[in-house]
């Protein structure tokens, strides 16, 4: 896949165009800046990871893109064409509707979009298989493990086929082994569906392993510090983690995060 230059303004083929977006929260009459003006563009099909310390505004950035927060300044354009709902969102812990079965949770976006029954059935079946939850269709969320709940949440986010998938620390609540499995599944799903993915994570290893591009953010004030293009070959696997380039990248990212104020 040819790589576009980083840190650029929007162009054709971009599905996320962030233009000078910032966010200031009002807490008890005090202004708390969460995100300094940030400009960035993500072309279709790219896997972007966002790393940074707590309070760097990375979750705020994701929520702004999703339209869950209103920006204090700047604009965001989403989607290459007219799409009904441009983003699917995966939260840190699954946030499934606890009274609905796995299947009904995945179906929920289709129901609200008024998709006809037969087609919805087919989509749900396909997604259940894609995230590996066959046999658990009628299970309630609380009867599932954290990893399985997160699989269901990913399937729900993909249900009405949004071109963009936003993930806010999706695997930070599951154990390490499950996390690695889910990382590989996410890569497989991404390659199958061709979605544009933006994933916020605390883990620099996860960012380097998964992404085409890593955005490094710094805290107080939250701002984009720099971006890395990740040239590691795909498909990625355990082999990738033995790659010298992978380790150099992880070290560089860690240095950036530790330094806080990385030199440009």
């Amino acid at each position: 896949m040819p790589r576009a230059p980083l840190d650029r303004r929007g162009a054709d083929g971009d599905v996320i165009e962030i233009d000078g977006i910032s966010k200031v929260f009002q807490l008890r009459g005090k202004s708390v800046p969460a995100l300094e003006p940030l400009t960035h563009a993500v072309p279709e099909g790219r896997f972007v990871a966002v790393v940074g310390p707590s309070g760097c505004g990375k979750s705020t950035l994701l929520r702004l893109i999703a339209g869950l927060e209103t920006p204090t300044s700047g604009t965001i354009r989403l989607g290459a064409g007219p799409v009904k709902r441009p983003v699917g969102f995966v939260f840190q812990d699954a946030v499934l509707l606890p009274w609905k079965s796995v299947e009904a949770n995945i179906r929920f976006p289709l129901d609200t979009a008024g998709v006809e029954r037969a087609r919805a059935d087919a989509v749900v079946r396909e997604l259940v298989a894609l995230v590996g939850l066959r046999g658990f269709e009628q299970t309630l969320p609380r009867q599932l493990s954290g990893g399985m709940r997160q699989r269901a949440a990913i399937a729900r986010a993909l249900a009405d086929d949004p071109p963009i998938l936003l993930m806010d620390e999706p695997f930070s609540a599951v154990d390490l082994l499950t996390r690695e499995t889910l990382n590989d599944e996410l890569l497989r799903i991404w390659q199958r569906t061709g979605k544009t993915v933006m994933l916020v994570t605390h883990s620099v290893e996860e960012a380097a392993y998964l992404a085409d591009e890593v955005m490094v953010m710094s805290a107080r004030p939250g701002r984009l510090e720099r971006t890395y293009a990740i040239g590691l070959p795909r498909p990625r696997s355990e082999e990738t983690k033995l790659d010298r380039a992978y380790h150099e990248l992880v070290a560089a990212l860690r240095r950036d995060l530790r330094g806080g104020e990385a030199a440009r």
Partner: protein, 254 residues
């Protein structure tokens, strides 16, 4: 799906109670005008039933309970939702609502008779006022405990107000609503009987005052017994509805 164990337990407790009653009224020799025997009580009920009047009384009481419960629940949930969605209103109404809620509604019963007359309306008003507040409080607690991220989901899916209420807010608040309903259910029975004591010529409460005034202890006991059974039935019905609707929330289930 009724489990066998609780039925057995209820049955055993009931049997012990009836036996003790029978012993006190028979072998122990309590005078029948103080404590009629179980047989006499049942006979009085059967006699009353055979004239067709018992069914009428029972139906009347049931109707005021069911209607009052339904109206009180709907109104309670509705106001709770308005207060939940309009925080300003909730600040304004919090004080007055606490006053109304802690006012003894039972004491207002005579006033309801003055306002609404001797018929169903006065009974409904009392039952309504007794159900409304627990449901309001329960629903409000349930609504305020909703995971805000469920509303993120609603926003992402661009749900309108009505769909959000039906698909997210109502089911999420249902455990709280049921807490209120169960309190309200007990209160509804008390309210209906009490309202019938005070006025009117129908209902189990009326039957009690009528039997007492005409010195028919067996009939009085029969009416009390029926009322108790009605309470149990109400409790069981609400429990079954809860188990059906809130299976997802059952923390004990493995």
């Amino acid at each position: 799906m009724i489990r066998v164990r609780p039925v057995l337990e209820y049955g055993a407790a009931f049997a012990v109670l009836v036996t003790a009653w029978w012993y006190a009224s028979g072998p122990m020799g309590m005078p029948p005008y103080l404590l009629p025997s179980p047989q006499a009580t049942v006979l009085a009920l059967v006699r009353e039933a055979s004239t067709g009047s018992l069914a009428g009384h029972l139906a009347f009481t049931l109707r005021s309970i069911a209607l009052g419960l339904a109206l009180g629940a709907v109104a309670g949930v509705a106001l709770a939702y308005v207060l939940y969605r309009v925080p300003l209103l909730s600040t304004l109404l919090d004080g007055p609502l606490v006053v109304l809620q802690s006012a003894p509604k039972i004491a207002l019963a005579p006033l309801f008779v003055v306002w609404f007359g001797l018929g169903l309306e006065a009974k409904l008003a009392l039952v309504f006022s007794l159900v409304f507040f627990p449901v309001l409080i329960g629903a409000l607690a349930g609504l305020r405990a909703i995971d805000p991220r469920l509303h993120d989901i609603a926003a992402l899916l661009r749900l309108g107000a009505i769909r959000r209420f039906a698909a997210i807010d109502l089911p999420a608040a249902l455990p709280g609503i049921f807490v209120g309903l169960k309190v309200g259910g007990v209160q509804a029975l008390v309210g209906a009987i009490l309202a019938e004591w005070i006025s009117g010529d129908r209902g189990l409460g009326f039957l009690m005052t009528f039997a007492a005034a005409t010195y028919r202890a067996p009939l009085l006991f029969g009416a009390v017994l029926l009322t108790a059974l009605l309470g149990v039935a109400l409790h069981v019905a609400l429990g079954l509805a809860e188990r059906r609707l809130l299976a997802w929330n059952d923390a004990d289930e493995r």
